[in-house]
Symmetry: C2
Subunit: 313 residues, 2 copies
């Protein structure tokens, strides 16, 4: 890769950070740690996760989204955001100016979230790809949440609205920390869609999650797309909820909290200036021989089959 | 990506590590930190950095090499190796079995070096790529070295032999720490070749590096390839040295140390069971108006022009 691109990138990303001891331009970045380090990697590939010829595609949005996806995992652990590292594969049809636009989009989100983009790698590739490593920090393991820990009797909550797929999603970093501080038992971010991600909570907790589709907070855009409006027929509302449950890239948080933590959770989210919580279901104990899963039902209590997908580890 | 591949990978990589609090299978990995965190990212792409149809290509070697490249940067800082994270782009023509072979190659090196592969991402892609994030640790910033710090009067040393491009290179982790402990002033790993990497030392230190090509420790394989043998003509020896100086992927260490640290450095490398050091040149002050650079000369002291390349930031 041309040295000029690297230097242009470095010039745009250089920004004072008292924790950063060695930034872009050495063999590795060096930062002062907190006692616990939280790391997530998220990769996106042209024509797999995005298309350059999509009418609303911009390189700056792509950079923002790629960083948002990785930071959303940091949010889901309840960690403080720290640094990000970008590995970029740049094809000839993208070029230097667009690569810079991509990183400027990422840098905008980084500034908003107090994250330092501290290094990475830039290589030639036949298609555009971005692999983002996001690093977060905690003062102790007890500050963090995992996917495991849902208890029978817990309520299932989500932040914000589902199904919107905004071009510039916000990772729910402050909300994740607030929820962890409010004593939530288990948490995940909705990157692959509720249908998939809620099942991870079920599996990690060894429980059944029961989600009522009629309770899902649908994105406004989604309702319009599906031709839904005030006074919409119940079946159409259900169809919208199914779309929302399967939609990935919401980057809202889904969590399980005991019923008596309900008010504490709502207040913590309010204090974190976050979107309100919507309670969408409950956690149930498994019957003998039953496998952990998420069960979706319509408003009559009838089960609804939903299939998601999964690609992260 | 198929869940079965993720689970197969996770099963192969799961290994006890008392520092690892949350491993593969949650939103993010969680590890206990040391006070200073050192991070490097290194990406390789099919048909750019390697070819599947090369006669000696194996997926296991590729996984080893990809991890070695990232760990080599950790070695060059003098840091303790910690964790690695793999973002893999897997095309249809590679398939699950080969992806597992790649990660098994990486895991072999990880075991040898005490590194835990703690997470990553697996996505579909039109070509195979691997982006490796390597994380190292130090108890204090003073334990670490950077590219900056070369002083006029310093000697320039390298570990091992140059130009071999072994299929399974060893990152010089123990040697990097030994050199940092022996009071070396500046260090870099030879990933892009001495011609390029020595210039980074010159630029970061604001000095001129003078390297005598006749002093380069040539790899045995290289000498054979170039048709060199005992009693080789001087011009052929020089040609071999030029190849070695331009060859990347050596992953040896190049460093600058004061002349009176010479014995201490040699002893430290010996104690680290590393390859011996070869002193290949010296550091000189810049004349007025002169730009930092590395100057190569033949054994008559005549300058030799060498051009390298660069892609890392």
């Amino acid at each position: 890769m041309e040295l000029s691109l690297i230097e242009s990138l470095a010039a745009r990303l250089r920004r004072p950070d008292p924790r950063l001891l060695v930034g872009i331009g050495d063999d590795a970045a060096v930062v002062r740690s907190l006692p616990v380090c939280v790391t997530s990697v998220d990769a996106v590939v042209e024509n797999v996760h995005f298309r350059l010829d999509h009418p609303s595609f911009t390189f700056a949005d792509l950079g923002w989204r790629a960083l948002a996806a990785a930071l959303s995992d940091i949010a889901a652990m309840g960690a403080l955001p720290g640094e990000a590292y970008f590995a970029l594969g740049i094809p000839g049809h993208v070029g230097e100016r667009n690569a810079l636009a991509l990183m400027e989009g990422a840098e905008q989100l980084a500034r908003h979230t107090g994250v330092t983009i501290a290094g990475g790698d830039v290589v030639s590739a036949p298609v555009l790809f971005a692999s983002v490593t996001a690093v977060g920090w905690a003062h102790s393991p007890e500050e963090l949440l995992t996917r495991a820990g849902a208890q029978p009797g817990d309520l299932v909550g989500v932040t914000g609205r589902l199904g919107a797929r905004p071009p510039r999603p916000w990772p729910r970093l402050a909300q994740g920390r607030a929820l962890a501080g409010a004593g939530v038992h288990a948490m995940i971010d909705l990157s692959d869609g509720l249908a998939t991600d809620a099942s991870h909570l079920a599996r990690a907790g060894g429980v059944r999650l029961h989600v009522e589709l009629s309770q899902l907070p649908l994105a406004e855009g989604l309702a319009e797309e599906a031709g839904l409006a005030e006074g919409v027929a119940k079946e159409e509302r259900l169809a919208g909820a199914c779309v929302a449950a399967r939609a990935g890239e919401d980057y809202e948080l889904c969590f399980c909290a005991s019923a008596d933590a309900r008010e504490r959770v709502e207040r913590a989210l309010h204090d974190a200036s976050g979107p309100p919580v919507t309670w969408i279901g409950r956690v149930e104990a498994l019957a003998d021989g039953e496998s952990p899963a998420t069960v979706f039902s319509d408003e009559r209590g009838e089960p609804v089959e939903l299939h998601g997908y999964e690609h992260r580890w």
